[in-house]
């Protein structure tokens, strides 16, 4: 029993230590972000790798999620004779929740894991040490551009996910099932508020983008410099990102949509 408690305590202390190190690392990344402004091409390159190369998975997933929403939403709404409200249901579900959350989960799996792998392998093959010995700070040259590339990409990916989702919902609801086209769009237009719904969704996606990017660059930088260490770091990135996204979503939603 005492041994179990000791191990639990040691594990807790380890986690707190790790969180402290991650926070100091985050602060250091922000401090060395100046180069991202003076040399924007470094960040643009990372926006390409994190954002542009994630377009396919985001587009296709958004379309499928929207189609499922259309099917499930119609099934429920028609029981209450309000199938015209399908547009509202699809749009609000996507813009408020599914867009930012699912896009962030996909972003963590697609781009976050690759950021962790790249930085982890650079560390394992001494590329970061070599850069440091060349008087080039790896935090400024490697880490900060990848962090900001993720933060910038995420809101656009979430917006694209939502737009494709709405399109998918329309495709199933209006084109396949036969919900009235005018009602679908006009009810959506009347009920979706720019500040309450869209802006809050954008804020969520920025926060998720920052969280996933932070976790990804930290796990890569902190990984053990071995094949096993890098693979564990990639797993941690995906798992921790998913948990953090969902936990942050609860917190943000409770602040944003209080009785609105």
């Amino acid at each position: 029993m005492a041994d179990l408690l000791r191990r639990l305590g040691a594990s807790l202390v380890d986690r707190i230590w790790q969180l402290g190190f991650a926070s100091r690392f985050f602060w250091a990344v922000l401090r060395y972000s100046g180069q991202c402004l003076t040399r924007p091409n470094l960040t643009v390159r990372e926006v390409y790798f994190s954002g542009v190369l994630s377009l396919l998975i985001i587009t296709v997933s958004g379309l499928f999620v929207g189609m499922v929403l259309g099917l499930q939403g119609y099934e429920t709404l028609q029981r209450f004779g309000s199938s015209e409200a399908l547009g509202i249901l699809v749009a609000l579900s996507l813009v408020r929740e599914l867009g930012p959350v699912v896009a962030a989960l996909l972003f963590a799996s697609r781009a976050g894991s690759s950021i962790t792998a790249e930085i982890g392998l650079m560390k394992a093959t001494e590329q970061l040490k070599a850069m440091d010995m060349m008087a080039v700070n790896p935090l400024a040259r490697v880490v900060a551009p990848r962090f900001w590339g993720g933060v910038i990409s995420m809101p656009f990916l979430a917006a694209l996910f939502s737009a494709m989702g709405v399109f998918g919902g329309w495709l199933v609801g209006v084109v396949l099932i036969g919900v009235d086209d005018g009602a679908f769009w006009s009810q959506m237009q009347a009920s979706v508020d720019f500040r309450e719904d869209i802006l809050n969704g954008v804020i969520k996606s920025v926060v998720f983008g920052a969280a996933v990017s932070w976790i990804s660059v930290f796990e890569g930088y902190d990984s053990a410099p071995t094949a096993e260490g890098v693979s564990r770091a990639i797993t941690r990135t995906v798992v921790t990102s998913a948990l953090v996204i969902l936990a942050l979503d609860v917190v943000l939603t409770s602040f944003m949509f209080r009785g609105a």
């Binding site: 650079m122 093959t125 001494e126 070599a130 010995m133 060349m134 008087a135 700070n137």
Partner: protein
């Protein structure tokens, strides 16, 4: 060695912090690296050679003693001063550590682009000259994954001397190379050092190659300097450690067996480590 020294190490101690307390790696090291010379630090794996290079480069801080490069105590420098000093240093890592997302050309151009405002045409000429010096001008457009081990090491060498450093450090430059590549790298280390008027510190355990190209050798064992001298002095040495090392004997002052309880105790009492 009569010339002025570029790197001075005095009373250097270093220990890594581990969960079970500090683990001593270097103890009471005194070394001098004179300008224009190629000096080898030799010893078995894990004797603290690479740690010593990292202390000279300022990537680690000593527990006691001091490391001076060009008259400046490296461990007392702040990041800005350290980076200013490192611009005048070059380092070749054990497996090259080339940036895998950049071509050979971009790898060699990396420091020039980061630290100078030179026009791209001039950088191009300088990079091609560096690659010409290591015989790989024709490989400028290749990516690191298209290079053999020996070629990658030569590109890393060209990158290490890109800004004509005053001090070049080599971490196991001969590891994993075929005899031809090994000879080529050895000759390049000597030629580049003399052409640039630089000082070279080479951590290695390749005794035969080192004896041909270096001016001075330090032997290390268990974190201490156990022997030193010019190649001729080393060849003639009767020191048991040097003898074991030069003649590649399995047992001697460096034991074949990892410390353990006696064989009888192990076999009769179960393996207790």
């Amino acid at each position: 060695m009569p010339t002025e020294s570029l790197v001075e190490i005095r009373g250097l101690n270093f220990a890594y912090d581990t969960d079970s307390g500090p683990r001593k790696v270097l103890e009471g090291i005194d070394m001098s690296f004179h300008k224009g010379k190629v000096v080898a630090i030799m010893g078995g794996s894990g004797c603290g050679k690479t740690t010593l290079l990292r202390l000279i480069g300022g990537q680690l801080r000593p527990s006691a003693g001091e490391v001076k490069v060009a008259g400046h105590a490296v461990h007392r420098m702040n990041t800005r001063e350290l980076y200013a000093l490192r611009r005048r240093m070059g380092m070749l890592f054990q497996f090259g550590a080339l940036f895998t997302d950049m071509s050979v050309f971009d790898n060699v151009a990396f420091q020039m682009r980061e630290h100078t405002d030179l026009p791209e045409e001039l950088i191009r000429d300088m990079v091609l000259l560096k690659l010409q010096a290591v015989g790989l001008r024709g490989a400028a457009g290749l990516m690191p994954n298209e290079l053999s081990g020996g070629m990658a090491r030569r590109v890393a060498l060209a990158r290490a001397v890109a800004l004509d450093p005053m001090l070049i450090m080599y971490d196991e430059p001969f590891t994993g190379l075929d005899p031809i590549s090994l000879g080529v790298i050895g000759q390049l280390i000597r030629k580049l050092n003399d052409a640039l008027g630089a000082t070279s510190i080479m951590v290695t355990h390749d005794i035969q190659e080192s004896l041909q190209i270096v001016d001075y050798i330090y032997f290390m064992s268990a974190g201490r300097v156990v022997a030193q001298g010019t190649p001729d002095e080393i060849r003639a040495s009767r020191d048991p450690f040097v003898h074991q090392f030069v003649h590649a004997e399995a047992d001697g002052p460096v034991p074949f067996h990892y410390p353990a309880v006696s064989v009888a105790d192990s076999l009769l009492g179960g393996v207790r480590g």
